[in-house]
Symmetry: none
Subunit: 213 residues, 4 copies
């Protein structure tokens, strides 16, 4: 919600015709793909407009600058992921199952939006974009945290710092999605189940875990 309303003040906020909206979307998608392939900096505005077969004016008609376009891509991506998460979890009463569904949704989203994944990673490495990412991540944590807390309260999850548990889940999910799905070309479902298992049980065998914890 907040993420949405902010957009409205930007300089280049035109009331776009239907055709204009299609153009803008086309620019967003094409740029995102090109940024993902070549990197943000190595991709020039010329690359983008040439790749689309349009003049430079088109780009600056729809976006204030290359940086603003990239910001928009990041915001849209994060909003889209968040919406997916919410829908997936909506009707699930069990906290553990909610977490499981969240993990599965993340892996699936990363699978179907492979190119956005690398953009989010890049954005984190540059001061200008990092806050945006951090914000999104905090949001993701804030979204997941209540479920973990509920799980602990219900005695279903370990009585550990819920923030740590939540961040652990995010770390495992992102990493396994990248390594297994994006780099290893394994099916998203397998990776999702692997991430779920790891998050729920860790690596120890039940007997060892019982003896140690």
């Amino acid at each position: 919600m907040a993420l949405l309303s902010r957009r409205i003040q930007a300089e280049v906020t035109r009331r776009l015709t239907a055709r204009g909206q299609r153009r803008q979307q086309q620019l967003l998608e094409f740029s995102a793909a090109m940024f993902a392939t070549k990197g943000y900096h190595p991709t020039s505005v010329t690359d983008i407009v040439d790749g689309l077969g349009v003049g430079k004016g088109v780009f600056y008609w729809y976006f204030e600058s290359k940086e603003e376009l990239f910001r928009q891509i990041l915001i849209d991506a994060q909003r889209d992921l968040r919406r997916s998460q919410r829908q997936a979890i909506a009707d699930e009463p069990d906290p553990v199952r909610r977490i499981e569904q969240g993990i599965r949704t993340s892996v699936n989203w990363l699978d179907t939006h492979r190119h956005l994944f690398v953009l989010l990673e890049f954005a984190r490495t540059e001061e200008r974009f990092a806050p945006l990412i951090r914000q999104g991540e905090e949001q993701a944590v804030a979204d997941a945290l209540p479920h973990v807390k509920a799980g602990i309260a219900a005695g279903l999850m370990r009585r550990d710092d819920p923030l740590v548990l939540t961040q652990g889940i995010l770390g495992v999910t992102d990493h396994l999605a990248r390594v297994l799905v994006l780099e290893g070309n394994r099916p998203a479902e397998d990776a999702a189940e692997a991430a779920v298992s790891f998050c729920l049980y860790g690596i120890l065998s039940p007997s060892t875990a019982g003896r140690r914890s």
Copy 2:
């Protein structure tokens, strides 16, 4: 004889004097810090040599190009981390404790080399550098895998795909190190213990885990 043999080496692989080696190291460290702060692309060679108070020629006396310098930084960083890992694990007989030590070493290394962390992340997002990172990661996995396998064989760890378990460990460790130590300014030791716990036990409470698995 001497006249001929001198020329055989590759372009900028010089035999350096002691002074020269210090300069090269200085360049590597200063550049790494600057890349980490401003980003690789936004940092110009001019930024680097000006920051060091030397002429531009110095840079190109020691490195073939900005890209090559960055490669060197990445290689050095990965080699250093790996060496730390090996030393930490060397005398530990128990597979689980080896894994634990590995996690702690990673977190500590990332804490003391905060600036390198972001560089490794950035490198993954650009085609030119990604192979180097993937190589390093495969190495890390190959290094950890035997311990996980040994743990499973000894009945200490879950009978799951050892590669998945290993990658899960790496994912949790990196993510918690970044979020807790680098972004959250928590002590490295706490983050290390948090990562160890998460990796060993997952998020479920022992009773729930016993019932479900």
Copy 3:
């Protein structure tokens, strides 16, 4: 349709507007003059655009590189000289007179395009450009050869290797044009007649020639 087809052309082979064509021509002419005066290498792109009072981008909007611009100058020059030659010879039936006309045209062209002369000479001295020049020279020889052969067949010219005779003509013409016209400031007509005489008769007096040949 339009979007796709636009991109098919090579890098900087643009469809230029009338204004664009004027700019390109202006760049070609100004660069040629500057190259001729200062030399190709000592003339920087900055020299050119500053001399023209335009931004640097203009240069690279019209030409892929300094080298490519120079190539274009060479090609245009050779094409222009060749066209002159053809027109001059077109309606002349006598082979000897055709050769004479060719010589006169060359000298006149070199006179009116003094600056191009030195560029062609320079181009021959650098590996990158030499093939272009050799090609042009072969073309020139191929153009003149038939007339010499016709002259020999008609018993008008010496029964000697026609290629050698042709090359001799080119050598005399170029050299006398340079020395007499460009360096000696003599009228092109005089130089042309001198070249014609030398080519037709050589240096011997008729009586001596008769006795010796």
Copy 4:
């Protein structure tokens, strides 16, 4: 003589040891070869010293600058050619035969000093070096002119401007040497004879020449 004495005032005029003289000669020869192959400008001082396997100091110990080195190459080349000419002509009483010998000597010299040929050509195209070349050429003309004048006075050569005849000879000789020997790989002797014939008789058949002149 004048060319020689001038050298003595240059800044870097050292009394060289035997070893030093060898080094200097080595530098002159290697540079000349490299300039001829890659061009004067594209050949850097680094290229030269690296190719020779020595440090930069060596270069600047023996030559004031790259430009000065090149000047020296040009001067040496011209002096050497002139000395050859003089020796070849020394004892020949007949003016025509003296010219013939001069032509043959030129072609042979250009054959055995192929790489210098292109350097002389290049030098003519750059303001800084052109005077040196012009001077050498004037010298060559001044050397040949008396023989042509003597030939005319003796009724052996055409009563035409002796300077034009001389320059014609130089033009034919240079051009045929380059085209036939350097580019066409024909034996120097053949090219020399071709040049001699062309210069003496021109292209017309004796009968035609008689009728026209």
